[in-house]
Symmetry: C2
Subunit: 159 residues, 2 copies
DNA sequence: TATTGTTATACTCTATAACTATA
DNA sequence: TATAGTTATAGAGTATAACAATA
């Protein structure tokens, strides 16, 4: 197994050696690549990817409060405030207070929000086509399956 | 396809609906989960994951300068300074200046650096075993293959 | 002029503590 | 007292500009 040192000098691919086998490193690189694309694409309709996530979630599960939506998306409620305020100011979401419990702000998409979401979904589909081209047949489904397993909380973590 | 609203209330799994099918979202969740584990594990030997990456890279490719190592790891040279200084202060790496070109600082692992890297590799292997358990047989290899494809720069991006 | 390392700075994402108003 | 939203703040990670020394 004595291998000669590899110097993949020429093209734009860099030989990072054993790093290419590290899950954390490759997740970082892949996430950044995908995020960069998302920022550019959604930026055209003035949305950041997390805000698109909020719209998408509210279309399916309207009527939740901020804490619930934030928890589902993995965003702490304090950090959620800025995101949702941005959407509120643009009249993409409605934050109503119920007459019974006046603490929670119940979230709904407005008509404008639904319209923008339709645009955003087109952008998203375009992004997916680009990624599908890279990942190959069945690649996206397999990737999502594996990422879901990684993201699941540890069972019986005796660490 | 009229599906009833899904309320996966009980366990710790949250129903995020269509978000679970978004590559960017799942990459973010998976990356964070893996990073959290890495921070805890490598924190025990006072390393942050990017610093482990530097040691790993230098063991395989010694004698490069900061800009080269940073570029290979996807870290800008300005942001690389703090990371490498931390390793230098702990005598894990040597930053020498050649007599010919006095600008670049040529990087090598010290004996201490090699010793710590051996410890770090054990921690890394332990992390991998944990991830392998989640990912199942062949999961890690497949995941790395897909992430590599995603991280590759776009060819002929006509955007 | 270009390159290497460096500093300073800013912006995003994330994390924690503390406040308010409600319950 | 507990909860929901909010504010402030701090820490990573990342990005850009500018500078000094060197080539």
């Amino acid at each position: 197994m004595t291998m000669p040192p590899t110097f993949k000098a020429p093209s734009d691919a860099i030989d990072v050696g054993p790093l290419a086998q590290r899950i954390g490193y490759m997740l970082r690189r892949a996430h950044k690549a995908v995020l960069d694309h998302g920022n550019v694409a959604f930026g055209r309709i003035n949305l950041r990817p997390p805000q698109y996530g909020i719209l998408l979630f509210l279309a399916r599960s309207p009527g939740r409060n901020q804490a619930a939506v934030g928890a589902a998306l993995g965003i702490q409620r304090s950090n959620f405030v800025g995101l949702i305020k941005g959407l509120d100011k643009r009249k993409l979401v409605r934050r109503s207070r119920g007459p019974k419990d006046k603490r929670p702000r119940v979230l709904h998409l407005t008509n404008r929000g639904e319209a923008l979401l339709r645009e955003a979904k087109k952008i998203d589909a375009k992004l997916d086509r680009r990624f599908d081209k890279k990942l190959g047949r069945g690649g996206r489904e397999k990737l999502l399956e594996l990422l879901t397993k990684l993201a699941e909380p540890d069972k019986g973590s005796r660490h």
